[in-house]
Amino acid sequence: MAELRKERLDRGVKVRTDSIYAVSSMKEIMFLIGPGLALVIILLVLPLLLSPYWERVLALTGVYVLLSIGFGFLAGYVGMVFLGGALFVGVGGYISGLLNTVGVPIYLSIPLATLLGALLCTLAFLPCLPLRGIYFTMVSFVYPLLAARLIAATGVFGGTDGLPGLDVFPNKWVSLYLIVGVILVVVFAISRLVNYKDIGLVLRGVKDNEQAIKASALNLTWYKAQAVFITAVLGCFGGAYLTHLYGWVGMSLFATEFSSLPVAATVVGGISTVFGPMMGAFLLVPISEALREFGTLRIVFYSVIMVCFVAFWTEGLVDYLKRKYEQFEHWVKV
């Protein structure tokens, strides 16, 4: 028996669409925009089909999707492993809740909370931005805990009881299509930002070689701050959204789960594209919600999945699917 090895070749349609003939036939156009189109259609149709319980799950999943995209963006493109997603959720949620208690209506409090919260979080992280690698990770992990303990210790903003009785979304369509719409805009915007904009290039540079960025007379901290701000916008929107989904804001918005589940989602989906973290969150969060009756066992479940993916199958789902989509494999004699 001769030894065999697997050979991978690009599909013909992939080769053609890479070059100038991209739009020569409907088939090739569909090959290019198909996956994105499928995503848009699925997400737009999904809210019409779900039962009330799964509508709730979809809303919560949406928040995790935004957090996962943020984590994947920072870790994959900027090289900052950020374990403090819960801080964004909490800050966004509390600002939105506080604005709402003084009478700001819901359609103003969410955008205000998103921007103000992101600004606040970025300012809070400003001193830590020069840190690299594991030190940044460790400090980011500490921030949400610090915020939660501060609220518990000082008793501000309702202390451990939180702020009840806030406005909720007028009906389920607003809440569902708001989060779906935001996800779609964010996914394509970030994908565009990192692939086609100058800042995307600089941010990749931050990941690969900070010295080169400094040598190019670019202000490293300024770019890192922008990246954190983008992530914070996603997280703070998620927090504000959750606040008005439940009509309540409390310390559970700073829960470690908001920091750890996005990591698992990113690892499962694959870190090299923006779509990976999103897919990961869409897979993991519903499963985790379905396991809710088992209590914290669901956290064990996704932690174990995360560890297995990192240690044994680093590629991630989306990269695997992308490879299958763009290439074919066959065995050849060595």
Partner: protein
């Protein structure tokens, strides 16, 4: 006087909590985020052996420590070794294992205030007019003993020197025939053992609760970051700084701020002196 004595005790508790984490990161550059989980696991296993299997105290504790050490070694050999050198993945897998252990314990019944290890000897005495229980004295003795052991281990034994060599220059160490993977396994296993010992010493003064696992991890991070990782002197000074800062806040401001202080100290130290209190240039390059 009370502040001085309890400050010292609190600082040594911090040293105990962080020594395992600092050891592993210092000698093998593996950030073991499962540290807090191993700390709780050791205490919980000792409790299970004591109360479910009615083993004698010494046996239960030793068994728990052995199991934790083995878990540490396996953690490295099975999982971390695959992602060695990739910082992100190392953090993610060890944190994942840590969360899995802690949340599994919570699910399997480690809830509420029921689980408690008995102190070595109950009772209390007074030193210079301050009442202090025997367990806290044991903690001081244990912490100092552990420090002495660590210092002599890394300075005089062959394994310890090998670990230090790997930390300083991995290539040169490899060229001299030091097995880098073996050394890292030893380091992670030792770190797990230290976490276990810390758990056995510290847990009797309170209840075994899952949240403590996360707190221990954070204190370990705080001490390592402040002290400058890999420098024993730094870790000891940082423990005393944070320990006394906590006790001072507890006695002059309010008890529930004591956790906040630790976190603020980390952030402040990083802003003012990013290399840590006793960090050297090499560490500065690594951090900033």
């Amino acid at each position: 006087m009370e502040i001085v004595i309890y400050g010292i005790v609190n600082s040594i508790i911090l040293i105990l909590m962080s020594s395992g984490f600092a050891l592993v990161y210092g000698v093998s550059r593996v950030p073991n985020f499962a540290h807090g989980a191993l700390f709780i696991l050791a205490g919980y296993m000792a409790w299970v052996f004591l109360n479910r299997f009615n083993l004698p105290y010494i046996l239960a504790v030793l068994l728990a420590l052995v199991i934790v050490t083995v878990i540490g070694a396996l953690l490295y050999r099975i999982i971390i070794v695959r992602v060695r050198g990739m910082r992100t993945s190392e953090i993610i897998v060890s944190l994942g294992v840590g969360i899995a252990i802690l949340e599994y314990l919570r699910w399997s019944g480690l809830r509420g205030m029921a689980v408690m290890l008995p102190p070595f000897i109950s009772g209390s005495t007074s030193i210079l007019g301050v009442v202090i229980d025997y367990q806290r004295l044991f903690i001081v003795i244990g912490g100092l003993g552990l420090l002495a052991f660590l210092w002599s281990f890394t300075a005089y034994t062959k394994t310890g020197l090998a670990l230090k060599a790997i930390a300083q220059n991995e290539r040169a160490a490899l060229a001299l025939g030091i097995d880098s993977d073996m050394a890292a396994t030893v380091a992670v296993a030792l770190g797990a053992l230290f976490a276990g010992i810390a758990g056995i010493f510290i847990l009797p003064i309170g209840n075994i609760v899952v949240e403590l696992g996360y707190d221990v991890l954070i204190f370990a991070i705080a001490v390592s970051v402040c002290g400058g990782v890999g420098s024993w002197k730094g870790a000891v000074y940082a423990s005393f700084l944070i320990g006394f800062a906590q006790i001072l806040t507890v006695s002059y401001i309010a008890a529930h701020y004591h956790f906040v202080v630790a976190l603020l100290v980390i952030i402040l130290v990083l802003i003012i002196k990013p290399s840590g209190l006793f960090g050297r240039q090499k560490e500065l390059e690594e951090r900033v």
